[in-house]
């Protein structure tokens, strides 16, 4: 029994190896898989991600004047100018489907790496699958800290995780306190999937460590028909800083309900997600003026990162909206991956993994506020320094860290 399985496994490996060799021989195309929700409640995320990747492909596959890795020549130089192609698959926010699609991309589409997956739950199974097949998984936008704590060899996360993000928020509040602001209590308000609960877990810990009272700790059911009772509880607790972790639907509902109940929180420091999504800002942006969110990106990044403006313009032409927290991370993940494949000089996944592990891109060669891109032993980019951005009704401006700020923070948020 055992021997037969080993033989079968070896057989599959030979078939795969053959496919890669074949792809190499053609030398024309490098195929990368992208796994996103393309139907269901988060379908728009997948559709936007597609535009972000296409924007990145335009830079990678054409001669581009931008100062980004792989931009200078058409295609990947060390693979004889091979063009990169992204194959998209739909995981419908289901971990099992994500895993099955990852296997399909690896065994049928012969992708040499996978990018994804937005939902942390899906990234969990996809990263495990990639590990088993020895194919690099570049996690663009799932921020659950547990993902990089599993000791996977083929897992790489270019952006920050929730712990880094939340740390920045508390650093920011500490800095404000040092400048004489009075901040005594925080209010946690988070949705009940892995994103919200993980985010709250870290914030609870940090609040205790740094001496902030937790005025309310409210976990709510996502996609609820109403949030009135929840908002009523926040209103009663009246924390100095409200720290919400919500997806788009709940962000819209939360902002509306707060306005309806005549509640204006003194300050909001949000865990991005819904709070930086265009549909939410279109709907309730006027109710959120002064709201601060953690971010990987902001539109005023153009001041510090010359390429950001051009990339944003190119994305906007495709998607009809500006780059945001999600799409900027997706764009950057693909750029980092393409650079690694180029340096590997092959589409053999093991070599790409090595190249990824050796990545060292200075921050000014990205469109992000990151200090650099360099992965630690867990595949986490520890230099993915987050920023805090403030919504001033028309756009977001960077307010923290103070060294990179483009505007002075308005605190309390209602002026």
């Amino acid at each position: 029994m055992k021997r037969r399985q080993i033989l079968l496994g070896a057989g599959a490996a030979t078939v795969l190896q053959g496919a890669w060799n074949e792809a190499m021989a053609q030398g024309k195309e490098v195929v990368i898989g992208a796994l996103y929700p393309m139907s269901g409640p988060s379908a728009q995320v997948g559709i936007d991600a597609r535009q972000a990747f296409e924007t990145a492909l335009e830079v990678i596959n054409n001669v581009s004047p931008l100062d980004l890795p792989t931009a200078k020549n058409a295609g990947l130089a060390r693979l004889g100018g091979a063009k990169v192609r992204v194959v998209y698959a739909d995981h419908q926010a289901d971990p099992q489907k994500g895993r099955a699609e990852a296997e399909r991309l690896i065994t049928q589409e012969n992708v040499c790496a996978i990018v994804g997956c937005y939902h942390s739950s899906v990234s969990t199974t996809v990263s495990a699958t990639c590990e088993r097949y020895g194919v690099p998984f570049v996690c663009a936008d799932s921020s659950s800290p547990t993902l990089s704590a599993q000791g996977l060899k083929f897992f790489f996360r270019t952006a920050a995780h929730d712990e880094m993000f939340s740390q920045a928020m508390f650093d920011f509040m500490d800095a404000l306190k040092a400048r004489g602001q009075k901040i005594g209590s925080v209010g946690l308000f988070y949705e009940d999937t892995i994103f919200g609960s993980d985010s709250a877990k870290v914030q609870r810990k940090l609040a205790a460590e740094r001496g902030y009272r937790i005025a309310c700790d409210i976990k709510y059911r996502n996609n609820s028909p109403s949030l009135t009772a929840e908002v009523q509880q926040i209103k009663n607790a009246n924390p100095d800083v409200l720290m919400p972790s919500s997806y788009t639907t709940d962000t819209i509902l939360l902002a509306k309900t707060m306005a309806e109940l005549g509640y204006r929180p003194p300050n909001i420091v949000a865990q991005a997600a819904g709070f930086v999504e265009k549909p939410a800002l279109d709907a309730v942006g006027d109710k959120l003026v002064g709201m601060i969110s953690r971010a990987s990106f902001s539109e005023d990044m153009g001041e510090k990162r010359p390429s950001a403006k051009a990339v944003n313009a190119s994305f906007k032409a495709r998607a009809g909206r500006d780059l945001n927290d999600q799409t900027s991370r997706q764009f950057s993940a693909l750029m980092v991956l393409a650079d690694a494949i180029d340096r590997a000089g092959t589409v053999e996944p093991g070599k790409i993994r090595e190249a990824l592990a050796a990545t060292d891109i200075p921050g000014d060669k990205t469109i992000m506020p990151w200090a650099r891109v360099k992965f630690d032993a867990h595949g986490q980019n520890t230099f993915a320094s987050p920023v805090l951005i403030q919504w001033n009704k028309a756009k977001f401006v960077t307010v923290y860290p103070f060294e990179v700020a483009t505007a002075k923070v308005v605190w309390p948020m209602n002026g």
Binding site: Q5, G9, M38, S39, I47, Y88, E101, A128, R221
Partner: protein, 356 residues
């Protein structure tokens, strides 16, 4: 006594009443025995073919589709015991599925117990739950019963979402391990999963085969066909219905435990969601409720269709795959209400109709 059930035709048409046993009836008895034997032979042939499928299908993705198809066929057949033969339309089987998945994961990851024990424990737990639910809800009629099952399953989902001991929203992730039948972990190889799911399917199928010719089967069909019979049998039938619920829940939970081992990860939305309750019932409805072959046929058509439409059309995000899927479900439900099993040639798949 023994001639009574033979004339009933899937509970579809009322049984002809009265009349002395005739020559036709005793011929039918002989034909009945032959048919039962033939069913076994055909099932065996199908199962052997499925067991050998990894020899013909090398591709991991397609093998994955085979695993899912076999698993849903087994789950659908398990649901059929309660919903089809017994007529209790449960729309909350996700609860039993989730109980099995969580029990197996918690036992393995939390306590180091092999998944086999977890499945057994989860199965027994689910069976106990099903008896409890059945005891409370079997007297509810029609939709009141179905909605009660939905509500109870939704309560399970809410509890799992908020129970830290079970990982709450983060779920439970299985650690990496060497390929082994003991832990049911196989990194790349899908063949063992195909064989496990097939074993479960064969077991549920065989139980249904036994039920069709058992006293329970006769009672339930009689209750379905004849309201007066239901009155007089009502009391006697309750215990057999509870047993059916327990068996159905047990098998569903074993399926859940298998799914957890197969995916190596559980979280509330991926095993306890209402969507699962529908996914379990759908193959039965498409294939044919209360039939021996319907659930298998339904799963064999529906699951590959779902998978392929997502894989090859879902990537566009246009919603076209949903439209096609929805339209097909609707069309089959309306055009072949008895299920697709009716498309198969009468012999040997279906019960022979006896001329009155």
């Amino acid at each position: 006594m023994s001639t009574m059930p033979i004339v009933s035709n899937f509970g579809a048409s009322p049984a002809p009443s009265g009349g002395p046993p005739t020559q036709a009836a005793s011929d039918a008895v002989r034909g009945f025995g032959d048919r039962r034997r033939r069913q076994l032979v055909i099932a065996l042939a199908i199962f052997v073919l499925a067991a050998l499928s990894p020899l013909f299908v090398q591709n991991a993705y397609l093998r994955n589709v085979i695993v899912l198809t076999l698993m849903y066929a087994a789950l659908a057949q398990a649901w059929n015991i309660l919903g089809g033969y017994c007529g209790q339309i449960s729309l909350g089987h996700a609860l039993y599925f989730g109980v099995g998945a969580y029990a197996t994961s918690k036992a393995y990851v939390g306590f180091g117990l092999l998944p086999w024990f977890g499945m057994l424990g989860g199965g027994l737990l689910a069976a106990a739950l099903a008896v409890l639910v059945g005891y409370g809800c079997f007297r509810l009629k029609g939709h009141y019963f179905s909605i009660a099952t939905i509500v109870i399953a939704e309560m399970g989902l809410l509890i799992a979402h908020n129970w830290e001991w079970l990982g709450a929203a983060s779920g439970i992730q299985w650690p990496f391990g060497a390929d082994s039948w003991a832990t049911l972990q196989f990194a790349r190889d899908k063949t063992p999963y195909i064989h496990f799911a097939l074993g479960l399917l064969a077991l549920t199928w065989f139980i249904c085969w036994l039920i069709e010719d058992s006293r329970w089967g006769y009672w339930w069909r009689a209750v379905k066909d004849n309201a007066d019979a239901a009155e007089s049998l009502g009391v006697t039938v309750l215990s057999s219905k509870l047993a059916a619920a327990a068996i159905s829940a047990f098998l569903t939970a074993v399926g859940g435990g298998f799914y957890a081992a197969f995916v190596s990860y559980v979280d509330p939305d991926s095993v306890l969601h209402f969507r699962f309750s529908l996914l379990i019932v759908l193959p039965v409805v498409l294939g044919g409720i209360g039939t021996l072959w319907g659930p298998m046929l339904g799963a064999a058509i529906l699951i590959p269709l779902t998978e392929f439409s997502r894989s090859y059309m879902g990537g566009s995000g246009s919603g076209l795959d949903l439209m096609i899927y929805g339209a097909l479900v609707m069309a089959v439900a309306l055009l072949k209400p008895e299920g697709l099993v009716r498309l198969l040639p009468a012999w040997p798949w279906r019960r022979k109709a006896v001329a009155p």
